[in-house]
Symmetry: C2
Amino acid sequence: MSDTSAPSAAADGVDHRMPTIRDIAERAGVATSTVSRALSNPQRVNARTRERIEKIAAELNYVPSTQARGLSSGRTGAIAVLVPDVTNPFYFDIIRGTQNQLKAAGYTQLLVDTEEATDVELDALRRLRRTSDGIILAASRLTDAQLAEVAGRQPLVTINRATADAPTVLIDTPGAMVQALEHLASLGHTKVTYVGGPTSSWSTHRRWQAIQEAASRRNIEVTRIGPYAPKTLSGAAAADAALGTGATAFIAFNDLIAIGMLQRFRERGVRVPEDVSIVGCDDIFGADFCNPPLTTISSPIEQAGRTAVSMLLAQLDPLHGGTPRKLAVMPTYLQVRASTGPAKKA
Amino acid sequence: MSDTSAPSAAADGVDHRMPTIRDIAERAGVATSTVSRALSNPQRVNARTRERIEKIAAELNYVPSTQARGLSSGRTGAIAVLVPDVTNPFYFDIIRGTQNQLKAAGYTQLLVDTEEATDVELDALRRLRRTSDGIILAASRLTDAQLAEVAGRQPLVTINRATADAPTVLIDTPGAMVQALEHLASLGHTKVTYVGGPTSSWSTHRRWQAIQEAASRRNIEVTRIGPYAPKTLSGAAAADAALGTGATAFIAFNDLIAIGMLQRFRERGVRVPEDVSIVGCDDIFGADFCNPPLTTISSPIEQAGRTAVSMLLAQLDPLHGGTPRKLAVMPTYLQVRASTGPAKKA
DNA sequence: AACACACCGGCAAGCGATTGCCAAAAGTTG
DNA sequence: CAACTTTTGGCAATCGCTTGCCGGTGTGTT
């Protein structure tokens, strides 16, 4: 870097200073306030003036400064999306959903990976207070109290984590657990093990509860192992432990664990579904082409992301958004593939 | 703004207005400039004063306004990462790599999905000019001229797209193509088809070139089909077309296509690797557990992301960053799994 | 013809930080 | 102890845009 100097005009003769509304105002012979309004509040200004301004803005290749806009208006135009792990395919779809919807609404998405850690989540939330207009919090690890405090400070929507203090998008995996159990029961399984996720995960508790209830109404004995980290690598340990329970069918916290188990069973020579059956959860990328293809709980994840955005936007702009819903439940269903089969005769 | 006066407390008794350096300055009995310096230029201020200020800032739970900071300093503290498709697992790893490294350096990551479209990419780039301090552009679809212009306007690092105008991180997939070809040759394959990616992809051309060169030096006949969109869904069409070439082995533009082909072959009763062999590229999530597990080209993708960040940061701050490298090439190797086998006797 | 009322554009005060410049205080030196 | 240098903190101007308030025009209503 030898240049960077010169009286604001670069050595190549081109003025690299970004144009501001002031430049536009001068060229158009109006006040900056008029330019501002023409550009962000079109109906507030005469059509002819507006067109002239727009034309000049285009010529100058004007791009408004988000910074300045945010500073004076109090709005940042950004929505933060916090997920526990960006590399978990489940969140990909959420991210894509929010991304689409936010872009459509003219917002910028701030993606934050909270690394499955409460303190990272809290810290991010803290500094995001100034940086974003609202937060979408997926699979939060926070306590109810913490969540309430966050919700009190800024618009918030949670995904897969119910709280009275903020609108929530729930994916009805517990409901599908019942389907899964019925499916397994009809295949003759009587002993089922639930392979649990992280202790701090709200979802894993809900699912376990749903399973217990459903099992008690049928003739099924359920046990639980875990917690396991939601990664394929945890699958090996989970598979080994699962085998120790004597159950013939396993319902995993999510597909990542289920796929990991699949791999481990293969290593150990345990056949799926001949020897044991496995049900996953989320129907992520890969669930359809793993070996064997995974029976799992499927849901419109991407839509969950879109719905979360809608709910948040409705909060930000109560007029436009209609009555803000406090809760949306995404339907789920059991996607039966090849990882479940008749129970092996004892 | 109705109040701003009085004890400026909200109805619930809690003051919801965010604290500013001014609040801190008043409490500490110093000027705002001192607070500013204490917080972002510590050695510029007496240790005792600084400690006092820091203490008050902590008590007030002060968070600086990125907006204001950016406006006055000219830096935004954000780096944009543009990828063609956030749901492509290949980019997951890039994203995770940049995310980590950026966070460590105190930057915010702005993730943008360019939807594999040039105009979306250009538009994003345009508005990002004001919003970010620098850009990481993965697998850009832009022309050299467009790229040069972007690079002239703001710090830029490209991934998998060489250009003289900006530092680049390359993943040496072409190099690995040679390995792949040798692997196939040693298995007795003499006719190989390359299943190409999007026309606008720079990588697909490089790979095809490498393949042609390597093939001409051996006794292998290569053909090319495509373009195909880099999604599993394109795999079906690709598989059908591939079969039509009469080749016994296929090298796919990426794992997504390869996995899609795998599925299609299964549907059609074509056995892999007994009837045909497939090599993928990228070693994405899923390549190891699909059926059969995919022989593919593996590389430290996450590190590519991290390296890109380092190179960009070095550009932003030439002093600290040492001599900025202009090019980094990530090593690759062939990961042999079960989708390749001996050529079928004709 | 008189009055009310949009409509439209300008003025100017911020928004919350950073930073160049300056002066008072403190520390050094011969 | 005078002359200097270095520290340290304050002043005030910006950064680029938004927005409340105001007044001058044009249009519509009695």
